[in-house]
C-alpha cells in the first residue's frame, strides 16, 4: 500500500447525502477479478446519461475538476454494500482523500486498506467546504501527520483519526504482515478453543 501524508488539490463538491456504493460503482462492473481498472466506472450512471453519452452537468465531468484528489460529500458516504470495488474505483480515478461528516462503517474500513484517507469534519464545516467548492475552484492542503485541512483562503479545519489507522496510512503498512507478528497469540487462542 502506498503511504499517504500530504495531499494538495482542489476539492470536488458532491453535495449529496447517503451516497451508496451502488452509485460509486454499479454492479455491472463488479465481475472483474482484478483490483485495478475501476476508475473509469466511478459514478458511472451519474457521469453518463441513459443513452451512454457524457452528462456534462455532473460535477465530476466539469473540466475544472479534472485531476482533483479530494472529494467532499455529505453525510453517510459509502453506505450499502461491502464491495471494496468502491474504494478501488475512487482511488483508481485519482482521489486520495474523501471528506464527509460521516461514513458508513464498512466503506470507512475499506478506505484504510487501500491508502485512501477518509476525513470526518462537522456538518457545518463540510457545508462550508461544499459552498466554497461550488462557488469556484477551492484548493486545500491535507496534512495527515498534523490532522489538518488547510484551505487556500487561510481557513483551517482539523480532524480526528484513530491513531492505529493513521500510522497504517502514513507508513503504507500491509496489515497481514503486521498480523503475522501475532502468530503466537493466534496459535494460543486456537489451542485454548480446540
Amino acid at each position: 500500500m502506498k503511504p499517504i501524508n500530504i495531499v494538495e488539490s482542489i476539492i470536488v463538491p458532491l453535495n449529496r447525502k447517503n451516497v451508496d456504493t451502488d452509485q460509486i460503482i454499479s454492479k455491472e462492473f463488479l465481475k472483474r477479478i482484478e483490483r485495478t481498472g475501476f476508475g473509469k466506472y466511478l459514478f458511472y450512471h451519474w457521469r453518463h446519461r441513459p443513452d451512454g453519452s457524457r452528462n456534462e452537468d455532473f460535477v465530476l465531468n466539469q473540466p475544472q475538476f479534472e485531476n482533483a484528489k479530494v472529494l467532499v460529500a455529505h453525510e453517510n458516504f459509502g453506505c450499502g454494500s461491502s464491495r471494496e470495488h468502491a474504494p478501488w474505483a475512487i482511488m483508481d480515478y485519482g482521489f486520495q482523500v474523501v471528506i464527509a461528516p460521516s461514513f458508513a462503517d464498512i466503506f470507512h474500513n475499506n478506505c484504510f486498506k487501500n491508502g485512501i484517507l477518509p476525513i470526518r469534519l462537522t456538518v457545518e464545516e463540510v457545508e462550508e467546504l461544499l459552498a466554497k467548492g461550488e462557488q469556484s475552484t477551492y484548493e486545500v492542503k491535507v496534512n495527515l501527520e498534523e490532522q489538518t485541512v488547510a484551505g487556500q483562503d487561510g481557513a483551517t479545519y482539523s480532524f480526528e483519526i484513530d491513531p492505529y489507522y493513521k500510522q497504517m496510512l502514513l507508513n503504507g503498512w500491509d496489515e497481514i504482515s503486521l498480523t503475522f507478528q501475532y502468530e503466537g497469540h493466534i496459535q494460543n487462542y486456537e489451542k485454548q478453543h480446540a
Binding site: D22, K31, I176, E190
Partner: protein, 469 residues
C-alpha cells in the same frame, strides 16, 4: 457484571488486545462467494501465503449465477468469475457448493440451512448482508476484499469494539404485518445511519414470538440502518431450529452446546450505549417510495411532501428521489402501479416467505401488465417448496419459477428490471439502478409483493383474503 450478548461474544474472541489498537478478533466462520473473493485469493498467491483454516471456510456461488437455462452462463466475464472461484477453492482446499451442487444457494440462506451458522460464533463474509446470521445470536458482519484476504491468511481481523444498541420492539404485531414490515418501519423511523458504529440487539415480545426465518429477515437489514451487525439472543426457538442440522453438533454434544448458547443471552440488567424502542402496534404493511431503504411508509399513507421535512438537504433528497422514482408528492401509496414483481433475495426467499406469497397467489392470476418471478433462496428451499406444490401455485398464477441465486436483488445476472419500469421487490435495497440502470425499486414483504403482482399496483394485503380460505 451484567453483560450484553454482544460483549460476551466479543470478549470470547479476543486473540490480542492493547491500548490504542483495535482488538485482534478470531473468526469462527468465513463464508465466501464469487464476487468479492477473487482479488483476495490472488493476493495470497502473489505473497506466497496459504489459507490458514480452510476448514472454517465455506464457499458458494450466488451473485452471478443464472436462474434459468443452467448451467450456461452467457456473460464471459461472469463466467470467468465463477470458474475462478472453482479454481481457488480447489487450490486452497475450501468446501464449495458450486452452481449445480444440491447445497447451492444465497450464502446467507445456506449458512443457517446447513447449521454452519451457530450462536456465539464470529461470522464474516465479503457481503454486507452477513448481518443475517446474527438472528442466531452470532456476531456476523460484512467485510471488504482486503479483509477477506486477511481472514483467509490469519483467521483473524483487527476490529475496533463497536458501541452497543438495543432496538426493542414492544407489543405484538397486527394481522398481516410481517418481519419485513418491522425492519422497514425501524429504518424509516430511526434513519439509514442510526446504527453506524454499533452492533444492534433486537429485543422485545414481537422478536421473541418470531420464527428463525423471520428473525433472519430482521437481522438481514441491520446494515440498511448502518449497523455493523444485528443480532438476537438465542432462545428455545434458536435451539429447535438448529437441532438436526448437518453441521450442528449431535446427541449429548448438542445438549451441551445448547446450554452454552442459551447462556450467551444478554444478562438481566445489562446496559447498552443506545436504546431505541418501537411499538409493534404502530407498524402496518410497509412499502418504500424512494431511493434508500429509509424512504418508506405504511401502505395506507402517501408519498411525503417537501413540507414534511425540516432541513433543506432533506427536501433536496426528497426531490431527487421522487424525480428518479417518477412519483408525485402526496400520491397515495395504493395508487402506484408496477410492471415487475420479484420474490427472492437473502432477505425474503426462505420457505416461509414463499408460503406466505403462495397463500395469496393461490387461485388468482398475475395482472396482465406485470412480469413476476419467484427465485428461491437456495436449492434446498426450491426442493422443499416443490415438495409442497408451491411451484405449481406460482406457475398456474403466471409467475416464473426460477433456480436459486441473488438474481434481481442486484441484477448482476440476466434478471434485470428495464429502465423506467417499476418493481415490487422483497429484496433489501432500493438504491438508484439497483435492479438495473434506470429501474425503480419498491421494497416490501413477500405477501405485499404477491398482492401487487395480482392487482398490478400496491394494495394493502390485509384487504385481500386468500382466494381459497
Amino acid at each position: 457484571m451484567a453483560k450484553t450478548i454482544i460483549e460476551k461474544i466479543w470478549d470470547q474472541h479476543i486473540v490480542y488486545e492493547e491500548e490504542g489498537k483495535p482488538d485482534l478478533l478470531y473468526i469462527d466462520l468465513h463464508l465466501i462467494h464469487e464476487v468479492t473473493s477473487p482479488q483476495a485469493f490472488e493476493g495470497l498467491r502473489l505473497a506466497g501465503r496459504k489459507v490458514r483454516r480452510p476448514d472454517l471456510c465455506f464457499a458458494t456461488m450466488d451473485h452471478n449465477v443464472p436462474t434459468k437455462n443452467l448451467p450456461v452462463i452467457q456473460d464471459p466475464i461472469a463466467k470467468k468469475q465463477i470458474t475462478t472461484l472453482e479454481k481457488n477453492c480447489e487450490e486452497f482446499g475450501i468446501q464449495l457448493a458450486h452452481m449445480e451442487h444440491p447445497d447451492q444457494g444465497i450464502v446467507h440462506i445456506i449458512g443457517p440451512e446447513l447449521g454452519l451458522t451457530q450462536p456465539g460464533k464470529t461470522i464474516v463474509c465479503g457481503d454486507s448482508h452477513t448481518s443475517t446470521h446474527g438472528a442466531f445470536g452470532a456476531i456476523a458482519f460484512g467485510i471488504g476484499t482486503s479483509e477477506v484476504e486477511h481472514v483467509l491468511s490469519t483467521q483473524t481481523l483487527w476490529q475496533s469494539k463497536p458501541k452497543t444498541m438495543e432496538i426493542k420492539i414492544s407489543g405484538q404485531l397486527g394481522y398481516g404485518v410481517t418481519a419485513k414490515d418491522v425492519i422497514l418501519a425501524i429504518i424509516a423511523k430511526f434513519g439509514i445511519d442510526v446504527g453506524t458504529g454499533h452492533i444492534v440487539e433486537y429485543t422485545g415480545e414481537a422478536i421473541r414470538n418470531m420464527t428463525m426465518e423471520e428473525r433472519m429477515t430482521i437481522c438481514n437489514m441491520s446494515i440498511e440502518a448502518g449497523a455493523k451487525a444485528g443480532l438476537i439472543s438465542p432462545d428455545e426457538t434458536t435451539i429447535n431450529y438448529l437441532r438436526g442440522k448437518r453441521f450442528a453438533p449431535e446427541g449429548a454434544e448438542f445438549d451441551k452446546a445448547a446450554q452454552r448458547w442459551l447462556d450467551l443471552a444478554t444478562d438481566a440488567g445489562a446496559t447498552y450505549d443506545t436504546v431505541l424502542e418501537i411499538d409493534a402496534n404502530e407498524i402496518e404493511p410497509f412499502v418504500t417510495w424512494g431511493t434508500n431503504p429509509s424512504m418508506g411508509t405504511g401502505i395506507s399513507k402517501h408519498v411525503p411532501r417537501a413540507e414534511d421535512y425540516a432541513s433543506d438537504s432533506d427536501k433536496e433528497a426528497l426531490k431527487k428521489a421522487l424525480a428518479y422514482m417518477d412519483l408525485e408528492e402526496g400520491a397515495p401509496m395504493t395508487s402506484i402501479a408496477v410492471q415487475h414483481v420479484f420474490i427472492g433475495s437473502c432477505t425474503n426467499a426462505r420457505l416461509s416467505d414463499l408460503r406466505s406469497a403462495a397463500k395469496l397467489v393461490e387461485g388468482r392470476k398475475v395482472h396482465p401488465s406485470v412480469t413476476a418471478i419467484v427465485v428461491p433462496g437456495s436449492r434446498t428451499v426450491k426442493q422443499q417448496a416443490e415438495a409442497e406444490g408451491l411451484d405449481r401455485i406460482f406457475i398456474e398464477a403466471g409467475f416464473e419459477w426460477r433456480e436459486s441465486g441473488c438474481s434481481m436483488c442486484l441484477a448482476m445476472n440476466d434478471d434485470v428490471v428495464p429502465a423506467g419500469e417499476r418493481c415490487a421487490s422483497t429484496s433489501n435495497r432500493n438504491f438508484e439502478g439497483r435492479q438495473g440502470a434506470g429501474s425503480r425499486t419498491h421494497l416490501m414483504s413477500p405477501a405485499m409483493a404477491a398482492a401487487a403482482a395480482i392487482e398490478g399496483k400496491f394494495v394493502d394485503v390485509r384487504t385481500l383474503q386468500p382466494a381459497h380460505a
